[in-house]
Symmetry: C2
Subunit: 287 residues, 2 copies
């Protein structure tokens, strides 16, 4: 394994995912430092032994001692951070991120980056509907997918390194996609589903209905508890893919509505059987 | 408690819910008999001590010895069953059901029913995305809602009886709604959510995407595994309420799409905050 045991790892942005990475890596014996503007996050992580060191400032000594840096920042803040502080990076440092959109960050960063460090994008497909290092939990990686998005600029060494990182964090599957394929996929599987959950929750005043709720409504609206700052940014940065899938879903839903309105039971049942058949593929992977 | 310990209970239709009722009631010491056209269901339930007796035929002696009868049938089959066999009922017998739509069954049955027995509608808001007595589990009632739908024709005695039944089955909350209120609520909370799950699953060929799936897509499509025969019947019998909510959801989703298309980030974030605020009510009830 290329990832050597005395690596010093810096996590920039100690939120739910950054904190969960920190927990996993520190437990494995890596020296984990974190930078976060939120003093409470750093204090909490130090008190709970989630990190070895932490700082609310971007300190040159801290950044330049890191062999690997993991960015857990919002996309635009992430790009700006690299622009502003890349002169501090240790030559040979490996960089990755956890960003939920890829095309809009990967190329910009690789184009501006110094030649003696390497950035390879990755996206841990894990999360919770709560936020902050205080809710971090490296158990969320078990059974989850880790997607890496190498480009022509990435070396075989970096691709091996990011695969090792995904494995030691505990992800079950490591997949490779181009940044564009990633964003297309995420537009459907993640962003569209969040839009649906929000619209289901906001389309009707429902507070008086809590006493009558079954599991199906709860399942479909779990992610209706949504960080508006982060998700609106992710949606805007992947607008074309998301809009494409929103329109595809709208058409399909409207056609289902027409079948019900027109009493076309055979067509309706056909749709339900297709739905059931497809869902079976997702069951298998889960178990 | 009015429900006396030597009651003989007959369950007609031994599927997932009927089987789960049987498990709970037999464990509590009631004598539980089942009628189901599927021989495998009766055999399984006898072998696994889920019922005391069972039959694949509608036997007069079996029906007439029951103090209480619970119907776990599809709506139309249920109404036909009552019409065909009500002459067998023991005078004073209490009847209830588990049907997911109410207006279209409760009044028809109460209008045709003999005067010396009483039917009171109820809907256990619990289920699984699998079927049959083989998958029955009375643990699904814990934390779940039990809705009773009395009409002008129901006596106080029957309302107390059905409340007791809900409590001994282990439901956490017993709520009272009119059949019309029930169907309106179910159109939104349950039927609309199932339509959304089906449309999300069928709108795009997604079998190649299983390796990239996160929990959000799995959560939103769990109920995309759907019994086409049962749910198409439920949709058709509650068509007006369901169509009303499908249109409300379509409008809301299309308006979210327009916000994203037009880059109206403030409006988008406002929707997300409303969504998050409303979801918090459902969190509280769950815990």
């Amino acid at each position: 394994m290329e990832w050597i045991s005395n690596s010093r790892i810096l996590i920039v942005g100690l939120g739910l995912i950054g904190g969960s990475y920190a927990r996993a890596l520190k437990r494995l014996g890596y020296h984990v430092t974190a930078i976060d503007t939120r003093k409470e996050a750093i204090d909490y992580a130090l008190e709970n032994h989630i990190i070895n060191d932490g700082s609310t400032e971007v300190d040159e000594a801290v950044v330049s001692s890191a062999d690997a840096i993991i960015f857990g920042l919002y996309p635009k803040v992430f790009v700006n951070w690299i622009e502003q502080y890349q002169q501090y990076f240790k030559p040979g440092a490996m960089l990755t991120d956890v960003t939920g959109v890829k095309s809009c960050v990967v190329y910009d960063i690789q184009n501006m980056l110094r030649d003696d460090v390497e950035f390879i994008g990755s996206h841990p497909m894990a999360g919770r509907e709560v936020y902050g290092v205080e809710n971090s939990d490296d158990g969320i990686f078990r059974g989850a997918n880790f997607i890496i998005t190498p480009t022509e600029k990435n070396t075989a060494k970096a691709i091996r390194w990011i695969g090792s990182l995904g494995r030691i964090l505990g992800f079950s599957r490591i997949s490779v996609l181009s940044p564009e394929e990633h964003d297309e996929m995420i537009g459907y599987l993640s962003q569209l589903t969040h839009c649906i959950a929000v619209a289901l929750m906001t389309c009707s005043d429902n507070e008086h209905l809590v006493d009558y709720t079954g599991d199906s409504f709860r399942d479909l609206t779990r992610i209706a508890n949504i960080n508006d700052l982060m998700w609106s940014e992710l949606f805007m940065l992947n607008r074309d893919s998301l809009l494409k899938y929103m329109d595809i879903f709208l058409d399909e839903f409207a056609s289902l509505r027409d079948m019900i309105r027109d009493g076309k039971v055979d067509e309706l049942r056909e749709k339900m059987r297709l739905s059931t058949k497809r869902r079976a593929y997702f069951n298998k992977v889960k178990n």
